[in-house]
Symmetry: C2
Subunit: 216 residues, 2 copies
């Protein structure tokens, strides 16, 4: 039974990973279940064993992304009491996750509007929950009497990080540890300090995840 | 003749603005020229007087956006020698432009890949040129020996600003002048300073543009 379950999970992961790449490249509306069947080598009826519509497939991709991202963060934060260190772990977890899953990231950014009804509500709720956790980590290091609007702050940070799918090339740009360090320093200390606080940065060895969320 | 030219320009602006909204809402691939005909009240043959394909229409929207954005910036920078002030003008110009043209911004972010061949090259060249100007403004205020990677810095800034189409509601969130001030402070001084340097911020009265790029 455990063996069957594992086979099921692995096949589903393969389907979701392949589908995410196709949605990212062609766009969700342009992509067909037939494209996904061709790319995965799984028959149409085989695919419908795992989900009952293209929208459910998109939902499974988005839901799995937010769940994994949030679970990783929860695990990291559970072991770390220091506020600044918690901030750095959050930034590095977020960036590593997206660098390792750039296609999924594009699908998350571009296709949230494509979900409707309960699918959309569930994903939005997870997204909100993750945003709240991150905002809490951020506000915990806010200086007393800060004038920066809390929504501007958290979404400026997310924007900084999420935009990487538009420009970041893991093979040509700085490594992800340096990316996380620079963004963390930029956000906390600002460009004018020139990352003078670099000494306090520790990249998280604990943060080396498997290269893709779909691999188990 | 001048009158005819003005009529032509106004009608084209009306078509581009309407098409941008439809592309933003439905996605470029899903939207049809028929949708645009219906929404603008211009017949199909009337539309093809202005462009010869849906792709050329998308190109006209994107090209007009980057051209306007870059021209506005050039005008502002031409009158300002101070480095930090040039940075602030750049941030405020960029944010005001996008707050006033959120639909166009979504189309720019989501549909650049939808252009091919010469259309794509032209838009990419303008985008690169704008990025270079902004990066120059940014590097002009970089402290000596900064450790922040130049590509990380400029795209962190663009990410911070461009992401607003995902969360910013002009009616519920802070006004755009405060948005520009907070982002400028965050980027230059960092979150930990709590915008202590707020006193040096001057919002640009010169920056009040017409509410949409399509209005003349």
């Amino acid at each position: 039974m455990a063996e069957e379950r594992r086979n099921y999970d692995e096949k589903l992961a393969h389907i979701l990973r392949t589908a995410a790449a196709i949605f990212a490249d062609k766009g969700y509306h342009e992509a067909s279940i037939r494209d996904i069947s061709r790319a995965t080598g799984v028959s149409l009826s085989g695919l419908y064993y795992y989900f009952s519509s293209k929208e459910e497939l998109l939902y499974l991709i988005q839901d799995h992304c937010f769940t994994t991202l949030a679970e990783n963060l929860d695990q990291l934060l559970a072991q770390e009491p220091d506020g600044l260190r918690r901030f750095q772990l959050m930034v590095e977890n977020h960036l590593r996750f997206f660098v390792n899953n750039m296609k999924e990231m594009k699908v998350l950014s571009h296709e949230l509007d494509s979900l409707t009804g309960e699918f959309r509500q569930t994903v939005n709720a997870k997204k909100r929950q993750y945003t709240d956790v991150c905002s809490g980590v951020l506000q915990a290091v806010a200086p007393a009497g800060t004038k920066i609007d809390a929504r501007v702050a958290i979404f400026a940070l997310f924007g900084m990080m999420n935009w990487i799918y538009n420009w970041y090339h893991p093979d040509r740009d700085v490594p992800v540890a340096k990316l996380a360090e620079d963004m963390s320093q930029l956000f906390l200390r600002g460009f004018l300090t020139g990352a003078a606080g670099g000494a306090e940065w520790r990249s998280g060895a604990a943060l080396e995840p498997s290269p893709s969320i779909w691999r188990t």
